[in-house]
């Protein structure tokens, strides 16, 4: 379960270009719930994700994961509880390391790292099996350095790395936005399969209205640093792209284009 309580963050405070990124944001996501976050640029989506992951320190407010206050925890300590897939495929993987080594790093996310050999036969077999689920042939490229993979392959790898070990919370930060439509679809399908199979509590940020309609149990719309609208249950199942867009004045062309 994820709870954000009246989170506030102001950038450049007291200066002419002061920017309220989060303005008393409240949000809660039940265990096993798949929430989709939409909102125009500058609505606070990235700030919210950064506040959850710990990459950004809040001015005030709290972040709770499964009831535990993680507000003051640094990124590396929160990592034991949450996993994040970034928009940029470069960001979520270590390019100069191999596929297997990247899998190992994710595997140890919530465990204590020891002085034992990292890539043992048992782990390699496990990674091979998990990567095979993607159907991209990554299971035969365990020793390939990640920088030699395509963006789609890297992003798929990031996803497998993130869902491994069933994190308490999965954050998806426009994770298909940088991919071509076909690859984006493959990654999205793999995401949905994993989230459903493992019943992961998931928060997905997207600019793609169709994705917001098709996936998830609820749609959360952010505007000016707070939740403007939340649609869940039966209403969510019936919603269309046109409805969603009708719910708020579209500030940028991007949303229309992306839909």
């Amino acid at each position: 379960m994820l709870e954000i309580r009246s989170a506030r963050k102001v950038f450049y405070k007291g200066r002419p270009d002061e920017k309220k990124a989060l303005d008393g944001l409240d949000l809660s996501l039940a265990t096993g719930e798949f929430g989709v976050v939409i909102g125009s640029n500058g609505a606070g989506k990235s700030s919210m994700l950064n506040a959850i992951s710990g990459a950004m320190v809040l001015d005030s407010g709290q972040v709770l994961i499964n009831g535990d206050d993680v507000t003051g925890m640094p990124v590396h300590r929160r990592a034991a509880r949450l996993a994040r897939v970034f928009q940029d495929p470069m960001k979520g993987t270590a390019a100069s390391m191999t596929v297997a080594e990247n899998m190992l790093l994710a595997d140890l996310r919530s465990r204590k790292r020891t002085l034992r050999l990292g890539l043992n036969a048992k782990r390699l077999a496990d990674y091979r099996e998990r990567l095979a689920l993607l159907g991209l042939g990554l299971e035969n490229r365990l020793d390939t350095r990640v920088e030699l993979l395509s963006g789609g392959q890297r992003q798929s790898l990031s996803l497998i790395m993130a869902v491994g070990g069933s994190p308490e919370l999965l954050l998806l930060d426009e994770h298909t936005a940088a991919l071509d439509p076909r690859t984006a679809d493959i990654v999205m399908q793999a995401t949905v399969r994993a989230v459903e199979a493992l019943k992961l509590t998931t928060l997905m940020v997207t600019h793609n209205m169709q994705h917001a309609v098709d996936y998830g149990h609820s749609v959360i719309m952010l505007d000016a640093g707070k939740v403007r609208l939340e649609i869940s249950g039966e209403e969510k199942k019936r919603i269309t792209v046109a409805d969603l867009i009708g719910h708020f004045s579209v500030k940028t062309d991007r949303m229309l284009l992306a839909s």
Binding site: N41, A79, Q87, G92, S96, L105, L108, S110, R113, L115
Partner: protein, 306 residues
Amino acid sequence: MDIQTIFTSFVALVPVTLAQSLILAFVVLGIMIPFRTLNFPDLTSEGAFPLGGCVCGVLLAAGASPLTAIAVALVAGFLAGCCTAFIHLRFRIHTLLAGILMMTMLYSINLRIMGRSNLSVFGSPTVFDWAPFTQPGFPASKIVVAGIIGIVVFILLDLFFKTEKGTAIRAVGANPDMAEAQGINVWVATIGGVGLASAFSATGGALMVQSQGFADVNMGLGILINGLAALMIGEAIVGKQTVARQLAAPFVGAIVYYQLVSFCLAAGMPPPDLKLATGLFVLAMLALPSLRRGRGPAPAREAVRE
């Protein structure tokens, strides 16, 4: 000077140079680890090398055992490296500037440790006295001892970088944001890694002092650029695609580089020109990739939507 004389004087110097290069390989290792593994270009070794030397010199002069002297030098180097990494992380000062600050401050510290600018420890016992199979004093004993330590360090590091902890440290160099998101404490890994590297540089200094019989505060002058040149030669020969190759590069590079230097000197190159030549060589090696690419712009980053 005819070819034969040059060749004879070069060959006569091969064992001495080999002994020297095996000792300096530790400094090259101390340059490689931050530079390649941690992506933390670091200049501390220029101060850590004489630091190790000075600490070792003072302890030898005070009658300490050569092993104790090396161990204390190693710890001193480790602390110096930790300081550089801390300065960078805490105050967000560029790694190179942090290194320059550290090596400048270390110069005073080294003078303080020794109380004067150089110290003779000739005649003190050294680790080279314990060389198996050889007579003490002859370069062979230095080659054997430095070689054995080098091989042990190489094997241990190769094993370490394949452990869970070692993989985590490499991840910090490859992508710090990703490493942090995977639960790795970037501070601990960086401080520990740079510390470890400087510990090797200091160990090199300590071995050098035991080998040459004196310590000098200026012994680090230019060691960094020599080390870089050696590293680049090593990487050109053995590559850097795997952990083992990357770790072998400093050793191979140091051996080849110092033989090259020795050959140039034997061939009549004036010693004062050496630093210029080394500098030009490192420049050429660094410039090569960008010359090959042509005059295009810096590598474009993958275009992504906001």
